[in-house]
Amino acid sequence: MNTLAEKYPQDIKRILAKYPPEQKRSAIMPLLFLAQRETGQVSPEAVQEIASMLAVSTTEITSVMGFYTLFHDHPGGRYRLQVCHDLSCALNGAETFLEQLCRHLGIEEGQTTSDGLFTIEAVPCLAACDKGPVFQLQGDGEIVYYEKQTLESAKALLETLRQRAAGEVTP
């Protein structure tokens, strides 16, 4: 059994300390990030555990997970490229960009490359409407924004990430 409490006792303590005891539920998001730090997804057991930790229902936890594209209840690649396809970005060519990106990686939106490195997802507004096309990159415990993207800039990023992954395998 690898519960969150066993794995990250210090982190949990630190997160809970940030909020007043009667508003423990504010810790839902930081704890969800903690839960998906290693595997990139939140397991049902972790949902249960967070719910009992914060004395809220599991339904509420999954509601938060469902609302944000940042949290994942299914496995994906090591890196998730989440491309905004809302109106402003669409007007700036996000749909074409997304299509090209998918074609470049040889996958459909929502799928993961066979090497397990990349998942492409179309998501709603990322709050950078003047800088579309935009995507956020989730992976290695980080979230990074990439704004005003073209296929070329994205390809370069993918290459860097590939090299980073390859570098780890053969030090």
Binding site: V47, S57, T59, S63, G66
Partner: protein, 811 residues
């Protein structure tokens, strides 16, 4: 009094209290602003945009702070740049609201066009069709054609069981969030929620069993589309085919106002059948809500197992006979001289039945006994709630004490009302042996050991809580029977009554003692003079002719079964062939309350009338009629007609003085205003046109008395303390059958143990074991619950194990 605000809506001038929302102000003026997400019982969220209106406010001169005037002296008005949501905008002085302009009409049309882009339009097979806000508002305000391509409609899952009671149709959902908000804010069970966003949004539940809330059925009422439907009514009937019969829920002592929707159908061999139970508005009782037991537990009323013919015992066998023969048999017996009719009646009988049976018993030099597991009703008759009481008006400065009762399980709607009272600022004090769901809202929550309730009450009254209770402007005390028998609960009631009398909390509205009875008319039985026997076994053993009505003592207690088996002459009137009926000399089929009229007195002492929803199907009679028929053969005059019986009852019973069926049928306008004509406003609950009922007057002058505390059972080594508790989904006197839709939630014979007690005995959850209680063994299933105090073994009532008060139990 809140400040009043004047405004104009369209051309109508309206005066409403400050803080009123435009949508509600319009409703008062008879102007219906269409809404989907707004509900008058919940905080507005402004999600659906259906209620957009044009709002103008007086222009104020910034320099002088005075209103700017037009040339004609009228205040100058300025419209906002955009339409505003009537559901989130409070009224203000001098405001002009326009809801019939072309701009507003166009907005409504657009909102509906959007809502319908992916709505499946499967109205012909939708349960909501005919009483659907979306359907009605589309007809009223929507576009006749959509500019969207029908083939582009998004399709979602259509049969998603959220639990075994409620189905979700994802395509129909318009994402108004009423159900989610109801569960979180009103029911206090946030067990359903939104999942995902935008077009992907769906209602989800993660609990086991799914949608685990005892108020789940209400979400189907307030859902403005056919997205949430009940498993019970799904595809059962079209709303316009059904008749609506006002009635009262008989599942507990709260007395929720309901409507039985009935329909003639082939499945019932061309007869009428109840298709569903719907709430009927009574803001002093259940508002517009029902618990799931009340909504889904009615099937027993039309069960095929009901008794259909009178029967008498001949050569040891019960054989069907005519009513004349059955009546003759009883009358002959009564005439034999060894007179003395002992009536043992349950709190399921209507006031009229109890009254007539008492008259018969009195005429026959007999006695009337009340079959109950709980005492204290003589006190609720003296220091109970007075006319004018309404739990919805309890708030700041008031206090409520709950003793020995798990209200969430025993009387869900009372739980809901006290939760709300606490939210309004009333001080809630809870004194229970274990944690209950009321603790979350309690200002003070204390525990005691089973058997020590009297000491705990004394300590509570002497402490800080005592201060809170004594100094409260109004004080209501609810007492129950957790771990208590008749004598124990009588003692608790006396201690509570003493406090009420001592602190001056009697005889006025919103003050008094309320018994958490299990039956719909237990309070009525007490008011009519029925009292539990000091020693029921002895009474039954001595009785010459015993008439048991609306009770099954033999089914509850093998010892009583033994006694009844030896009865000199036993007559049983019931709906079913109960264990008691099996031992009878004469069995009489009674009429269920859905097939007759009558009245019940709720725990809050409100007398409420019910009407016949169905024609009497079987050859059954009311208990009142049975008494009248027997009396007639004995040469006595007892009225048969129920309204006349009630008049007679009112004339002879001081608390009922001045009441009649007509008085009980009186109504007055209730807030929120609701009607079936505009069900988009508050859902499909019925408006109350059949009567709000009347609270009984308080008679006599109550005096304090020393409570008589019953002795505790002698401690037995290694034994646990058996504790009777009342659970919502038990079988109780309410006759819910395990085959009904609630079957999955019904409890069987089970024992609740503390984890440590279970571990010490090597028991795991779900284990089938035998317990030793009252020198007999009983098979039960083990339930492990951390809230059970150490050393206690909780036994639900009415599952066939004779746990009536604390007793030693061995495993």
């Amino acid at each position: 009094m809140p400040k009043l605000v004047n405004l104009t809506i369209n051309h109508t001038r309206v005066t409403v209290p400050e803080g009123t929302l435009i949508v509600d102000a319009a409703k008062e003026a008879g102007i219906n602003i269409p809404v989907f997400c707004y509900h008058p019982k919940m905080e507005p969220v402004g999600m659906c945009r259906m209620c957009l209106v044009d709002v103008a406010r007086p222009v104020i001169d910034r320099a002088t702070g005075q209103p700017v005037l037009e040339a004609d002296g009228a205040p100058k008005l300025s419209f906002g740049p955009k339409l505003e949501t009537a559901c989130t905008t409070p009224v203000s002085e001098g405001m002009l609201v326009v809801e019939d302009s072309p701009k507003v009409t166009a907005a409504r049309k657009d909102i509906l066009e959007f809502l319908l882009t992916s709505h499946p339009l499967d109205c012909p097979i939708c349960d909501k069709g005919g009483e659907c806000p979306l359907q009605n508002l589309t007809l009223g305000y929507g576009p006749t054609e959509s500019r969207f391509d029908f083939a582009d409609k998004l399709h979602h899952a259509k049969r998603v069981p959220l639990g075994e009671l409620i189905f979700l149709d994802r395509e129909r959902c318009i994402q108004c969030g009423r159900c989610v908000r109801f569960q979180e804010k009103i029911a206090g069970d946030p067990v359903i929620g939104f999942y995902q966003r935008g077009r992907k949004l769906e209602i989800q539940t993660q609990t086991q069993p799914g949608f685990d809330s005892i108020f789940s059925g209400n979400t189907s009422d307030i859902c403005p589309v056919g997205a949430l439907t009940t498993a019970d009514f799904r595809f059962g009937a079209r709303p316009w085919e059904m008749e609506a019969h006002p009635s009262i829920c008989a599942q507990c002592a709260v007395g929720c106002n309901i409507v039985f929707n009935t329909k003639r159908e082939a499945r019932s061999e061309g007869g009428m059948a109840i298709k569903r139970v719907m709430p009927r508005q009574n803001e002093a009782v259940n508002e517009i809500w029902l618990c799931d037991k009340g909504r889904f537990g009615y099937h027993y009323l039309q069960s095929g197992e009901r008794l259909t013919r009178p029967m008498i015992r001949q050569n040891g066998e019960l054989v069907p006979v005519s009513w004349e023969t059955a009546t003759d048999t009883i009358v002959e017996r009564l005439k034999t001289g060894r007179s003395g009719l002992t009536v043992l009646a349950g709190g399921r009988l209507a006031n009229e039945d109890l009254f007539n049976l008492k008259r018969l018993a009195d005429a026959e030099h007999g006695k009337t006994l009340f079959y109950t597991h709980m005492g204290g009703g003589d006190l609720t008759g003296q220091v109970g709630l007075a006319p004018g009481s309404n739990l919805a008006t309890l708030g700041k400065g008031d206090a409520v004490l709950v003793v020995a009762s798990d209200l969430h399980e025993e009387a869900p709607i009372w739980w809901l009302r006290l939760k709300q009272a606490a939210a309004r600022g009333a001080s809630l004090v809870v004194l229970n042996p274990r944690a209950t769901r009321l603790d979350d809202f309690a200002a003070i929550s204390q525990r005691y050991h089973y058997g020590r309730v009297m000491d705990a009450l004394a300590a509570l009254f002497a402490g800080e809580a005592g201060q809170v209770l004594s100094q409260a402007a109004n004080l209501v005390i609810f007492f129950g029977s957790e771990g208590l028998g008749v004598d124990g609960s009588q003692a608790v009631a006396q201690a509570c009554a003493n406090l009420l009398i001592r602190t001056g909390h009697t005889g006025r509205p919103n003050n008094g003692l309320v018994g958490v009875w299990s039956e719909p008319n237990a309070q009525g039985a007490w008011e009519l003079g029925y009292r539990p026997a000091k020693n029921l076994t002895a009474e039954l053993a001595e009785a010459h002719v015993t008439l048991v009505a609306g009770a099954d003592p033999a089914g509850d207690d093998p010892a009583l079964a033994e006694t009844l088996q030896q009865s000199e002459f036993l007559v049983v009137a019931d709906l079913f062939m109960t264990e008691t009926a099996k031992r009878a000399n004469v069995v009489l089929p009674a009429l269920p309350y859905s097939e007759r009229e009558g009245s019940f007195t709720s725990g809050e002492r409100r007398v409420q009338r019910f009407t016949a929803a169905l024609p009497p199907r079987e050859k059954a009679h009311t208990e009142a009629m049975i008494a009248a028929r027997v009396a007639a053969r004995l040469g006595l005059k007892i009225e048969e007609s129920l309204p006349v019986v009630f008049e007679k009852l009112a004339a002879e019973t001081p608390a009922f003085t001045g009441l009649s069926f007509d008085r009980l049928a009186e109504t007055h306008p209730q807030k929120p205003l609701l009607s079936r004509e505009d069900l988009y406003y508050s859902g499909t609950a019925y408006e109350n046109t059949a009567g709000l009922g009347c609270t009984l007057a308080l008679t006599g002058s109550p005096a304090e008395a020393e409570p008589v505390t019953p002795e505790l059972p002698a401690p037995v080594e290694n034994a646990l303390l058996a504790v009777p508790i009342t659970r919502l989904y038990d079988r109780s006197s309410t006759l819910v059958h395990s085959s009904s839709i609630l079957g999955q939630r019904m409890i069987g014979a089970e024992v609740w143990l503390n984890p440590q007690d279970a571990a010490e005995r090597g028991l795991s959850a779900g284990a089938e074991i035998e317990i030793h209680l009252k020198s007999a063994n009983w098979p039960v299933k083990v339930v492990i619950n951390a809230d059970v105090p150490a050393g206690a073994a909780l036994l639900p009532r009415s599952v066939g194990i004779p746990a009536f008060e604390l007793a030693a139990l061995e495993i």
